[in-house]
Symmetry: C2
Subunit: 608 residues, 2 copies
């Protein structure tokens, strides 16, 4: 039996020394996992060996896709309000013949290449990012267990459950908790990783070393508030990133020109500052204040396994992959590891999906980790070669850097179809603006439906009146195919409901689960509001009245962005996974709507 389905005492007796998921590490990756699980109604214990959240330094750049994810979670506001936004990048260079000068300045995420709704890097230090996730969890009654150092885990005799040992470092005592799953979000030196067989890191440690400093700079350098890639003739490279509260982050290359690694003892703040000063010459560089200092050596490695063969122990984030910090990918990729894992754990823990669903976590996220390392190798190389190489590297990889280009190959959850739509299985939903039918509110289609761990099924019906009959038949197919799934999901959520925080009163989640707890149904049409009434629609669309959209805002419509040209009478349908990835997408000729039941049955065959 599955863990949650099995448990009558869920959330009461088990919340103490027993839980469904133990998450080790309350950094971005661990908190993203725990926050999502908490929302979905899965009992979770978060262990962290630190006494408090990150106060300074570490990861600080949120990429466009991460901003989208936080908007979907309704957690972005304080970060958007207080973070610094980087829209452009400028390139500087000095050579034997020329003093330091700007060689170019360009938009960081050009719309025609990236198409993100938030086309910038948001700089907000890691503690702020952690805080919004912690605050939200606490409003749902879940708290991080601090001063708790994970030590070991083992399978409980005669059961399918884990016993997890950790040390309470404030009381200096050992503690134990039982859980169904253990996820190590405990960083590059992950202890959890050592309990997964054959999960060593594979890859290279380079000679490239960097000093990193955060603080307020006094300088006459004119581009202090753009992202700056600066390459000096004889004193290495600098990456300069504007931050919140008037600060700047400096990445300073420490490798000597000969290529050997700089002695760690030598890499003091003074040395790093001096080195930066030489590189930036003739511009002045003084620190008005320094908030954080660190050094690192670039390693580019991926763990051989992200989970154990029995699908009980997982790693996510830095525990699974490490690379340079230059392209601000770390926390972004790490949080999306968790974002991928959370909804799958929820479905399996509830007994709604087969445990084999969890294998897709490793398949999908290892693929992204390797993509990341491959990109990072090229990026570091381009960085040291100067503007032309770096600009080309940016252009070639800009969708991936933004996070919107992290794509999955065909698999259990990504069914490739012969449809020639711009949107394809394995891609993320493309952003588009539409109008809600019911209240005429303009909304972003990729943000509007709250994340409840449910699938989203969008039906595109360009000309509604003409397609009403086909739409009825399609909805019938859909209902029949998903009935069992729906019944089981509704039963599960009735027994173990999603958590409820004060902010949920305003979100009105029941509007999105009126048809099923397993999916939200949505219709998008190019017909005008005046052309039809909700009462004319098939009943499951009447129940979905909050997700009926009019495609009447953008010159290039949502329909066109997602499906390309559709022929008269065609109906488009796409299944979007709980993490926003396209699971399947089809353009159906009107006479073909009856194939949909079979396609859906096949897609959802991972469900129990």
């Amino acid at each position: 039996m599955s863990p949650i389905a099995d448990s009558e005492e869920y959330g009461t007796e088990r919340a103490g020394a027993s839980t469904t998921v133990v998450v080790v590490g309350a950094g971005p990756s661990g908190l993203m996992l725990a926050n999502n699980l908490t929302r979905f109604g899965v009992s979770v214990v978060i262990l962290d060996d630190r006494p408090d959240k990150t106060s300074t330094g570490k990861a600080d750049g949120m990429q466009p896709k991460t901003i989208e994810t936080f908007k979907q979670l309704r957690l972005a506001d304080p970060l958007l309000k207080n973070g610094a936004k980087v829209f452009d990048i400028s390139f500087w260079e000095s050579t034997a013949d020329q003093p330091m000068h700007r060689t170019g300045r360009k938009t960081h995420y050009p719309d025609h290449l990236v198409g993100a709704s938030d086309p910038y890097i948001l700089l907000a230090h890691q503690g702020m990012v952690e805080e919004v996730m912690i605050d939200d969890m606490e409003s749902r009654g879940v708290f991080v267990t601090r001063n708790a150092r994970f030590t070991s885990c083992s399978l409980l005799d005669g059961t399918n459950r884990l016993e997890i040992q950790y040390e309470d470092t404030s009381a200096n005592t050992s503690r134990t908790t039982k859980a169904d799953y253990l996820v190590g979000c405990d960083g590059a030196r992950s202890k959890v990783r050592s309990f997964i067989p054959d999960a060593d890191l594979e890859g290279e440690i380079t000679n490239a070393a960097w000093g990193v400093m955060d603080g307020v700079i006094d300088t006459d350098f004119p581009d202090l508030w753009s992202k700056v890639a600066l390459r000096s003739h004889s004193a290495g490279s600098i990456l300069l990133i504007p931050r919140e509260r008037g600060m700047t982050r400096l990445y300073v290359e420490l490798s000597s020109t000969g290529g050997e690694r700089v002695d760690k003892a030598k890499a003091t703040p003074e040395y790093v500052t001096q080195r930066a000063r030489e590189a930036m010459d003739p511009f002045k560089l003084e620190w008005k204040s320094v908030e954080w200092f660190g050094t690192y050596v670039v390693g580019q490695r991926v763990a051989k396994r992200f989970m154990d063969p029995s699908a009980k122990i997982f790693i996510a984030g830095d525990a699974g992959h490490c690379h340079s910090a230059l392209a601000a990918q770390g926390a972004n990729t790490s949080m999306h590891d968790s974002f991928n894992l959370a909804w799958k754990l929820n479905l399996v823990a509830r007994g709604l999906a087969k445990p084999s669903l969890l294998n897709t976590y490793e398949e999908e996220r290892q693929k992204i980790a390797h993509d990341l390392i491959n990109f990072d190798v090229e990026h570091c190389k381009a960085f040291s070669e100067g503007e032309t190489a770096l600009a080309k590297n940016f252009d070639d990889n800009i969708r991936f850097i933004a996070g919107v280009g992290a794509e999955y190959t065909p698999g259990m959850l990504t069914h490739v179809s012969p449809t020639t739509s711009p949107l394809q299985a394995g891609m993320l939903q493309l952003p588009a603006q539409v109008t809600r039918y019911i209240d005429a509110n303009p909304v972003d289609i990729q943000l509007d439906i709250p994340l409840l761990g449910q699938f989203k099924i969008y039906i595109f019906v360009p000309t509604l009146r003409k397609s009403l009959g086909d739409l009825g038949a399609l909805c019938e197919e859909l209902e029949n195919s998903l009935q069992r799934f729906t019944t089981q999901a509704d039963r599960s959520f009735e027994k173990h409901s999603r958590s409820h925080g004060p902010s949920d009163d305003f979100q009105q989640h029941q509007r999105y689960t009126a048809v099923s707890n397993a999916f939200t149904l949505s219709m998008v049409t190019k017909s005008a509001q005046s052309e039809f009434e909700i009462l004319e629609l098939p009943e499951i669309l009447q129940k979905s009245r909050w997700t009926l959209y009019l495609d009447n805002i953008q010159a290039r419509s949502c329909t066109e962005r997602w499906f390309g040209d559709m022929k008269e009478g065609d109906i488009g349908i796409t299944v979007v996974r709980p993490d926003g990835y396209i699971g399947m997408i089809h353009t159906l000729n009107a006479s073909k709507v009856e194939v949909m039941g079979g396609l859906l049955d096949k897609y959802f065959s991972f469900m129990v």
Copy 2:
């Protein structure tokens, strides 16, 4: 001597039984005043006779201009996240021959008529609006004094100060505080008003009575999530407004068809519901829950005076004007009374402006109150006449309803010039998007510069390279003219600084006061970023590097929106008051920049 300039002990000894401003009433109007004064660094005591903030009911609609104001205050986020947004209005009617049917549906604030950046009504109950202002004040160390009922005030013998008596209703004791100014934001039955000679309310009390209910409705009425004006043949009118948390507000007309007023004792929730049911027939109307119930009789009255002749005692908000609730104007107008008064009190209290500046408060806000009453009379009449009349009334008054059309006539603070620009003295800044030069961030020009009680001076230089010489001459005029004002302001703020909350660390206010504490200087150009460097600009523009904007986002540029067609080499200049109103606006021929010194001297002649 002026109150703050005079005081060495400002903010310490005086914060107890002595302060600069006593505000009576912690509703929207009182809190807007106290919040602004607190930010500006003016000591304030807020007395409120209630034990806590508004929990339910009362005012709930924020108009586009109010949303803009809250965005300018950086307080809008929680309201935008949790409020309901009304973008459209639908009209329903039944006649002797026709059952209840929809006669039309339209956009509430069409862009071509209103041009607001947030073209909707934001429904968030009064307590939420109060809370964001209270939270912000508390983060700056200022708290509302609760259970405090104002009783009287008098001039302290031999001084220019007031002694204010109030009752601590929790301890049943009388208390006294001294203050330089007293502002009554204490509602329609204002007690403070009685201490202003000749300040009675003038106008009509009508026979129109309305019942108001908030709650969750169960109905098959299809337009529940639009604003609905419904007029039944024989059971009166209803106004239906969607709200946050799935609620609806119903305004139900209680006047009998004969026109005589409905007995107050009869107006129970059951009666009002029954009356609404009759009007909405054949649609079902059941309450799943009721959060608030109230009734009111429409009065349309304005106080004869908004201040006493010595400019020590003021009233704002409902204390000065009352009218129907149908067009959701009350709290919006009230908060903008305070918004108008706050910066003037700050300048006079600091000794930076002559006390006569305060007279403009009454001139300007009484004009708006009368505009409001005149509109309200027409609006109520149109409401009872049905869709055609109501739709015309909307079209004629839509900018006023939105708040963006509240305009001041020529006066001490609004100098009309012969310039034929679309933007004129007495109007609000028009919204437009521009790009910050320094960091390439796209911003809304009307929101970007934080509200610090300072003026904003925008110089529009369409072709920068051509105008560099003239720009230098203009900046010199400007510096000379404003030097005395700047010196005095800088001295005042050095002595009594603005308050500082944690959020200010992220706002970096010093970026906007680099030239002067009295004004922020800004330049807007249509030239490209690549055409010039900050170092080439006159020094005061170099110091203003955070407010240099590129007018390169919208097809209809900010330059065109504000100044219309400008001739080659022309320079535009506008002085925007601390409350966002245009004080003066000129388009200068290149050879005429030297007139600017005189124009600025004349404009700022209200300063000491």
